[in-house]
Symmetry: D2
Subunit: 325 residues, 4 copies
């Protein structure tokens, strides 16, 4: 292995708050260790097309607090082909970039793994996704901000729910993962939380609504996109079917969950992982994701990081139940 | 006219941020002038049913900053009938309440007018609605907070729009009024603003998107619920039809627009109008809405207040155009 | 008068949220009317030194939501001299700039007036200051955001005040003007509001605290920097002197009041005034500040705009009294 | 040991955001397990004086999102004496309360330990303090919210710092602990972070400011209250002494750091610890603090929990250095 002199950085997949803080950390750490550092625009698409510029300390000034990603992100059909990846490799060669940091989620790391193995270039991943659905890190960058955004939004909805004695079914992001729903649901004191990982008997939820504090006037049910009851509108119908006198409304929070200023924790996480990724490359690592487990930096092979988790902490589900009295 | 000794207060219609600040102001002003004051729960429905409790200075402590309404709000079928209103009048008699403050929008004031004329009781209205669609006041309580909520949400959406080079069609509240769309659209720098009051040729909007800064990667179009292009999804289709390579997304902001902590301006407005309403009743006024026009308290007969406005300030529309370059 | 072909824009004095929205509006309006537009960095200092760059539509993209000013602001000793102003004029000539938009407060307009008269160049002012202390506009850009920032901060302080049964003396900005204190004080439900414009007998405030709801556990007194009781710490001593058993604390909000994302109203105000300023220059105006009075654009000669107002709306002071029961 | 039938709950010491979420969790968990639950007002002071009321599920409705503590908190001289604690024990006997949950920091737990041992009553502690300075839990309730509050405030200060090219010395809470300063300092991208745990040579900081990006116009230095350079104002003098041309300002964030709506993480943490505390008491535990270590509930004896930590993660300090280029 030769000494690394120059690294490239890209963001890929859905954007998440804190990606800019991670970019800043990667750029400045590279400079701190006297490496050159290049920003690749629009993820693997920009890599294939050579949309690459050198970055300095100042180019990442005043971005730590911004949502989104200054490097942008996009899908690339071309990168899915061997030819595309060969082009991408050629672009790196042209700029003398000899290692890559890829910020994103499981799609990003799947691509990174193929690219690294096929095109022989070291790649370290940084987990940037609001879904928190990667192994090898307690939290992904953006998750903390996203659950705060959900909680802020539902606090607002609660105001109107309380005023009108309404039941709200609120859909949050999470096609394959209920982690946003789970923590934000506890955070807003949800009546019930429906997530893909837990098959529940919705009749139990309805029975519970019937038996506990029947006179409770407003209730909020959080559903993850990918849950098993058929979605927010279907859930609303079920509630209405059982309690025809309830005023039931649906709210789909949607894309606001991806944006916004990153929370302090997301900024710190992103900063730590950005430093770790560059230091990892310098130390000769490749094919791994930098994460934080129990407060300490940990590296996890891409293969393990992207293994989908099909269970959630059962204690958290139980807590939601106990507290929704 | 006899001297008023006791007033009742209710909130009705859709809740809006700042209603609690108005309730607080009415209660404390009544006490300041040595009147008794009664809170009526769930609007006209609670009035008919006699859901009425006396309020003290402390009962409105620490609510000025809360969204929603502690008096709750509801629809009442019964109040729409003469019998229902007679019952309501009887409830007031029982509590020796000899005047009413009704906080809400046009439906609230329509009811108040009938009640006042038919049942012979003084009523003063306070404009509490996020829609800002009443005559006789520059702003209604809740409007300022609602447009800040929209702007905050769309700032978040912009982060992801910029990162992905996406076009977002964002639907905001306003079935009959485009005022939320108009000011928030200017506030977020929208590409176009579609409102019920303005029939536009959407082809012009599309042509403009084609000619001006074609390479502009992310764009946000704000549509009011009641606009004339067929809604957010239909608008998205039109954009996609013309620009198939654009990644077009829809976001319906929904009920978050009604909640949240009131802005300073909404709290001040609510405080001023609460004081004015009670002082108006004491001065013998009835059948009027308290508002603020050009910084000064103004009273407007209910009939005039609820006349729907079908035009908006054309300058604001022009500004939106100029600035979306 | 010759037709204007090119305008320069600068921000001067203390920064205020919404200045960027005004810069954006001036730049895009100029382009809309086929003018060239130049950004002058660091106010009059940059003008003297020739720190001037041409701006395009894209150079003001994605700034409407940002606090501060991308053109920066600074003091200039040199501009206070005839020689300095002559240099400044020469810089404009070099860039073929034949008119100026100056965003700031009374100091900015005082300088603008001298420069305009002495150096024969049209200047239009835009009121950008959190203090709201200018004549000729109902609100200055930044004021609405600043009072929301104060209200947010004091809502937080109230949480701890309530929990500990404490009295808080909170100092807000306003050396010569109590307008931030006045509206934010009403907005947070202050026990008392001390401002430069109102000489009050503080013994009355203390007596009132003694007589009304003596058992009220937490109280908040808002003091403007320039009030007449000797400042927040002196006020705290007076309260402690009278009520030794009270736990009295002081909080100086300080510089957070200048920053932050502008509110929707500030963005709309800035957008409207930016358009008006350029349209005013095109129409041949000079030596005036663009403002909004009762919803309509109004131009006010600099001399009148900067005349300090020594009174505040007495109704607002009375309202604060009534509501602090 | 007898089976517990009734528990009391109190908050003590400085309030922190999330205490209400913890109270809610304790109350509802107690009810879930068919225990009676009593709220004790104003901490140990209310315990001595018998300020105790029974709580139901509804009494903690709609408080999960509120800062401060609905049970209030206060100092108690009397509880520091044997007689005071005997009185307190008697009050519990009167209400048939046979176990206690105490939410607070090291002072709270020190009192709890003496009370428990001397008066023979089971007590479980919950860590509620913004300082995060307890052993036995990764985070204390309120810390996450506090660092977000700091980051929000300094983001605002940064706007004005950038606009004016100023250096800001920002003092944050932390008399004995630099943990608020450390994480928020990384979160805002501070130039330097001064904390009690790290003796640094400030000349190094000044040298660094001199050598790295000398033309960097705005810088922010975060100082914890208890750091070793003599405080924010003294630090400002040192910076001015070395760089007389810098415009150096001081901002003391103060009490806003204690208040505000709790973040999602603080709400979840508080909910989990509230459940754990009650389940711990039921399981026969006493004299321990419930905490979360690496995602799992852990109980730590009071003696260990309150042992002050005199070191911080050196990696975090290094990261701050690397990233402030």
């Amino acid at each position: 292995m030769n000494k690394i002199k120059s690294i490239g950085i890209l963001t890929s997949g859905g954007d998440s708050p804190g990606m800019n803080a991670a970019i800043r950390a990667v750029v400045r750490t590279a400079l701190y260790y006297d490496l050159n550092v290049y920003g690749i625009t629009r993820g693997y698409d920009g890599l294939v097309k050579g949309d690459i510029v050198e970055m300095g300390a100042k180019s990442v000034a005043n971005i730590i607090q911004r949502g989104g990603t200054i490097l942008k992100t996009a899908r690339s059909q071309e990168f899915l082909t061997v030819e595309g990846r060969a082009k991408a490799r050629e672009q790196l060669r042209k700029h003398n970039i000899d290692a890559l940091v890829a910020i994103g989620g499981d799609g990003t790391f799947t691509g990174a793994k193929v690219f690294m193995e096929e095109q022989d270039i070291p790649v370290i991943g940084i987990p940037g996704t609001i879904d928190n659905d990667l192994q090898g890190t307690d939290f992904t960058i953006g998750y903390d901000t996203a659950i705060n955004t959900v909680v802020d939004a539902v606090d607002k909805i609660r105001d109107t729910a309380e005023s009108h004695d309404r039941v709200f079914i609120v859909e949050v992001m999470g096609r394959d993962s209920g982690l946003i729903a789970l923590r934000s649901g506890i955070g807003i004191g949800a009546e019930a939380i429906l997530i893909p990982e837990a098959k529940i008997d919705f009749t139990d939820v309805l029975n519970r609504m019937d038996s506990i504090r029947k006179n409770k006037s407003s209730r909020i049910i959080i559903v993850a996109e990918g849950e098993n009851e058929g979605g927010a509108f279907e859930t609303a119908e079920k509630v209405k079917g059982r309690f025809p006198h309830y005023d039931v409304r649906v709210s789909i929070l949607g894309h606001i969950q991806r944006g916004g200023k990153p929370s302090c924790m997301d900024r710190v996480l992103a900063s730590r992982l950005g430093v770790a990724a560059v230091e990892g490359l310098i130390a000769g690592k490749s094919g791994e994701m930098a994460g934080i487990i129990c407060g300490d930096i940990a590296f996890t092979p891409f293969d393990n990081a992207i293994k989908h988790i099909h269970t959630v902490n059962p204690n958290l589900l139980k807590i939601a139940d106990i507290l929704s009295l």
